[in-house]
């Protein structure tokens, strides 16, 4: 698809999504789409560091959690939600930069397991310090409107896709991809590897912080350590890889597929989607490193050859 056609398609899809709250008969459809949009944002934010800059961050949940914690605290305290979310993103990014300077001394697998440990440290600390469940005040619950959350999720997902789309074509984005392919070679050709990796991490964690804030705004009652749980990282990783790592539309496809499978299977079998996704994920890493996006491209090429 050419770029104008792709943009036009995007506009149509967003317009259709924006109309959903007016036509949806039950909350179930809105909740479902909300989860798709939240997952898209979270996966896409992870994709910036892992897919574009090639650094597998297994502690992504820490930034989602920090965003959620900050937003929730400020918002319940009376701050307007958008402002609170901004603060959440800021806290997540500030922490990421602080950690990034140290963690980026680690390469490859060491970066991955180092960030995994970091995420767990934060989760355990928050679980220890804030052991009480966090529930919205009764007045907030009384005036709770799902559509508000939905529109915010839509806006955030669109903004995330716009940021990653712009990044992919920018000089910085190309530099990140060069680092992903070969860090030494990239540095030798004048790419500031540490700077770009930090930029990727800052963008990624700011978006993850915003996604966390959205979660805090959406969810009525949860344990403060819940958004720090490693499954948020794992969700983002699975969605990105199954969809197509390092692409713009991969995480979108992945999120739709993931939430669809999760919601559909959860009715009958709890956690069964993880079995299927875990197996699918292994297959993709071994046989189809480009994910659904690559599969679609291959099918198209095949169809093109058959019918000239």
């Amino acid at each position: 698809m050419t770029r104008p056609r792709r943009l036009a398609l995007g506009v149509v899809v967003v317009a259709a999504l924006a109309a959903v709250p007016r036509v949806a008969r039950t909350d179930a459809e809105l909740n479902f789409l909300f989860l798709v949009l939240l997952s898209t944002t979270l996966a896409q934010s992870w994709n910036i560091v892992a897919g574009y800059a090639g650094q597998v961050n297994l502690g992504h949940a820490a930034f989602f959690g920090l965003g959620a914690l900050t937003t929730r605290t400020l918002w319940i305290g009376g701050t307007p939600v958008l402002l609170a979310m901004g603060a959440g993103a800021l806290v997540a990014t500030a922490f990421a930069l602080l950690i990034g300077v140290v963690a980026f001394r680690l390469r490859g697998a060491y970066f991955a397991i180092g960030t995994l440990a970091l995420g767990e440290i934060l989760r355990i600390t928050v679980g220890n310090v804030l052991a009480e469940i966090s529930t919205l005040p009764a007045a907030t619950i009384a005036s709770y409107r799902l559509a508000d959350r939905y529109y915010l999720a839509l806006a955030l997902a669109v903004a995330t896709l716009a940021v990653v789309g712009a990044l992919g074509r920018s000089r910085a984005g190309l530099g990140m991809q060069a680092i992903r392919e070969d860090e030494e070679a990239a540095e030798a050709s004048g790419v500031n590897a540490l700077g770009l990796k930090l930029l990727a991490l800052a963008l990624s964690t700011a978006l993850a912080g915003l996604a966390g804030g959205l979660f805090a705004y959406y969810h009525i009652s949860y344990y403060p350590s819940h958004p720090f749980g490693p499954h948020w990282t794992f969700d983002a990783l699975l969605i990105t890889f199954v969809g197509g790592v390092g692409t713009l539309h991969g995480p979108v496809l992945g999120a739709i597929f993931y939430v669809l499978l999760k919601e559909y299977l959860a009715v009958r079998w709890v956690d069964f989607h993880l079995l299927i996704f875990g197996a699918l994920f292994i297959g993709i890493v071994l046989l189809l490193p480009g994910g659904l996006v690559e599969a679609a491209a291959r099918l198209r090429a095949l169809a093109g050859r058959r019918a000239p």
């Binding site: 600390t125 220890n128 794992f234 709890v270 069964f272 079995l275 875990g278 292994i282 071994l286």
Partner: protein, 289 residues
């Protein structure tokens, strides 16, 4: 004071299991240059193996080891052939990254599978001698855990001798050192990989059995044990089985000290913090020799 010593003794006892858990991971990582983050899930499976052998066939957990270890060896061989044999074909850098991803997918699938098959309940094996305790100067030492520590040490010692003294062990060590050179001297590198992976899985199975008898297993313990094993591997470095055992004991003691000093919830923290600090202080990893 007695309370402190008691804590440290319990820490030492579980530390033996940390060492055993790490030994398998360390062997696989050192030889195949493959980081299997599903190692904790293999421990979990070993624990369930022993549990069901006891519940369905009336096996004593320590006797169950004689079945769990060969079973885990075979399971490790199958896992190697189906998944990791593909990974080791890549260059070393891609190898680590891909193995991380494969291990991760495997961990998710095994977790979900365990919940499906055995529910999310915590289980532990209760034997007739479960409550037996030896008392030394007011310090209580649970016999089962003491036996586990001794067995863990014996198993690690056994693998150490296997690696140090036998022909196959030498082949494995040569492959770990430099697989290309090993290949040139006529060593069957593929077989060394297979053996190392199978032995690593067997060690995980044994660790799981001991966890299920002195402590408890549930489908969600995998990640926790993977992290413990990783911490020990980072502390102890690669290439020495006795060193890994000592590393496990150190982690057990450090955890006990943290729990005593800051309270139980901080037990988990100390290992992770140690891990991160060591990792960052030596970014090439203590792995690098």
């Amino acid at each position: 004071m007695t309370a402190f010593v008691q804590q440290m003794v319990l820490g030492l006892l579980i530390g033996g299991l940390y060492g055993l858990a790490a030994a398998g991971l360390s062997l696989v990582f050192g030889v195949l240059k493959v980081l299997n983050v599903a190692h904790g899930q293999l421990i979990m499976l070993g624990g369930y193996g022993a549990f069901w052998l006891g519940a369905l066939a009336g096996f004593d957990p320590f006797a169950a080891l004689t079945l769990v270890i060969p079973g885990a060896l075979a399971f490790g061989a199958v896992l190697y052939w189906t998944l990791f044999a593909w990974v080791v074909r890549a260059s070393e850098e891609t190898r680590v990254k891909n193995s991380l991803l494969i291990g991760f997918g495997l961990a998710l699938a095994l977790d979900a599978l365990a919940v499906r098959l055995w529910t999310a309940d915590e289980r532990s094996i209760t034997t007739s001698y479960a409550g037996a305790v030896v008392s030394v100067g007011g310090i209580a030492i649970p016999l089962v855990r003491l036996a586990s520590l001794v067995l863990a040490g014996a198993l690690i010692g056994g693998v150490h001798l296997l690696l140090a003294r036998t022909r196959w062990g030498r082949a494995i060590r040569a492959t770990a050192e430099d697989w290309e050179a090993a290949l040139l001297t006529g060593i069957d590198v593929r077989r060394a990989y297979l053996l190392a992976f199978a032995i690593g899985t067997a060690l995980a199975g044994a660790a799981g059995t001991l966890v299920s008898v002195g402590y408890s297993v549930s489908p969600s313990i995998g990640l926790e044990w993977t992290l413990k094993a990783l911490v020990v591997v980072v502390l102890a470095g690669l290439g020495s089985m006795p060193g890994t055992f000592v590393g496990g004991l150190v982690l057990g003691l450090a955890e006990a000290a943290a729990a005593w000093g800051f309270g139980g919830p901080y037990r988990e923290m100390v290992g992770l913090v140690l891990f991160f600090v060591v990792l960052v202080a030596r970014p090439q990893g203590l792995f690098a020799r």
